[in-house]
């Protein structure tokens, strides 16, 4: 499989079953692989054993918060792209987590999250890749 055909691997963290299920469906596309988990602890464990291109996380999680998860992931893999999805208005202190961290406010639309994913993890245009 060529690099351009490699699916984008997304780790999605959301504790609400319904939101996780529906948003997982929404994020899933032929060009993406989405792995959804319910807690920051599960996400950290998975991150050790698997490779992800980007992490999309809720802020309000059962034990460790999404912000703390982001901090820990950035310590392990500096520069890892992270999208923080939140229903809260976050302070600038909390959102200043690095150049490749973005905040998206719930409820967001597919176009908005797609834009952020493309911005953080640009993929070669398959048509251009084929013609070259």
């Amino acid at each position: 499989m060529s690099a351009s055909a490699t699916p984008l691997r997304i780790l999605y963290v959301e504790d609400n079953d319904l939101v996780r299920g529906i948003t997982h469906e929404l994020l899933a596309q032929p060009s993406r692989t989405v792995v959804a988990v319910a807690s920051a602890e599960e996400a950290l464990k998975l991150f050790e054993s698997d490779v992800f291109d980007v992490v999309v996380t809720d802020v309000s999680l059962p034990a460790m918060s999404g912000l703390e998860l982001a901090r820990q992931l950035l310590q392990r893999v500096p520069g890892v792209p992270i999208i923080i999805a939140t229903g809260y208005r976050l302070s600038s202190e909390n959102t200043a987590l690095g150049e490749r961290t973005r905040v998206i406010t719930k409820p967001f639309e597919q176009e908005q999250i797609d834009q952020l994913l493309n911005e953080l993890c640009p993929r070669p245009d398959p048509k251009l890749a084929q013609s070259s």
Binding site: L18, V19, L26, V59, L67, R89, K106
Partner: protein
């Protein structure tokens, strides 16, 4: 409704409450209610908004899926059926959370059976971002089958306020332990915090002291004590040798 209540309460609490308010016809219970509700409204409005927006995300996403399925669906109608079922679930869930919030803002006095562990879980859920933003972790332990008969909204508000005060008293990185147990005929909720309590003043002492300005925290503690004692319970503060203090909240167990 929340906004109106908030403004009214702030007039009571934040404009330096004096006993003059009694002369204007305030009953002590009203003042305590106002103090509790002010704190809770201030602390929990973000949680309310968060819950509503979270469920709205499910609604938004399910409609996106429905549109996507409709675009692709000529070959497979089950895609549309599935997306439609998800949309209905999302809307039902949204309705549920709005109703929960409405119910929480309406004071009621009718006692209902309350499972204390479930109530504390709900409170933890409600304050979890609040705690996370202060880098405090809430750990709940103990008996899962302790039941009391109480006015649910009142008890919830009161416990929310006490847990919120305990969170405030902890340094970043600390743990707030909440233990649920039975002590003789009472349900007991223990909050281990570093809140430095003075004596919890009685309602009568609070009313007598016309010179000082009452801090919201003291008013909440006195109000909680006043309400709990009226219902056969109370608060006991156990000052530890270390920095940790234990706030024990008692409420009579449901008669079996």
């Amino acid at each position: 409704m929340i906004g109106i209540c908030d403004r009214a309460c702030k007039q009571v609490v934040l404009v330096n409450l004096h006993v003059e308010s009694k002369a204007q016809g305030w009953h002590i219970d009203d003042i305590f209610d106002a103090a509790l509700q002010t704190l809770i409204n201030d602390r929990c409005r973000h949680a309310y908004v968060h819950d509503i927006r979270g469920r709205l995300q499910a609604v938004y996403s399910s409609f996106e899926l429905l549109a996507r399925s409709a675009r692709q669906g000529a070959a497979d109608p089950t895609l549309i059926d599935n997306a439609s079922a998800l949309a209905k679930r999302a809307l039902a869930s949204h309705e549920r959370v709005v109703l929960e919030i409405v119910n929480q803002t309406v004071p009621e006095d009718e006692p209902v059976v309350v499972n204390v562990a479930n109530l504390i879980d709900e409170i933890q859920q409600f304050l979890r971002n609040d705690a996370a933003s202060r880098d405090v972790r809430i750990v709940v332990r103990g008996d899962k089958n302790v039941q009391v008969s109480a006015a649910l909204n009142k008890l919830r508000t009161l416990l929310l306020a006490l847990v919120a005060l305990s969170i405030d008293a902890l340094p970043a990185g600390a743990e707030l332990q909440i233990d649920i147990k039975r002590v003789r005929e009472d349900a007991c909720m223990e909050l281990r915090s570093e809140m430095s309590f003075g004596e919890i003043r009685s309602a009568a002492a609070l009313l007598r002291d016309q010179a000082s300005v009452v801090q919201p925290r003291d008013l909440i503690l006195t109000g909680a004590q006043h309400w709990l004692q009226k219902h056969g319970g109370g608060i006991v503060v156990d000052r530890g040798a270390t920095l940790q203090n234990v706030l024990r909240i008692y409420y009579p167990l449901i008669a079996e």
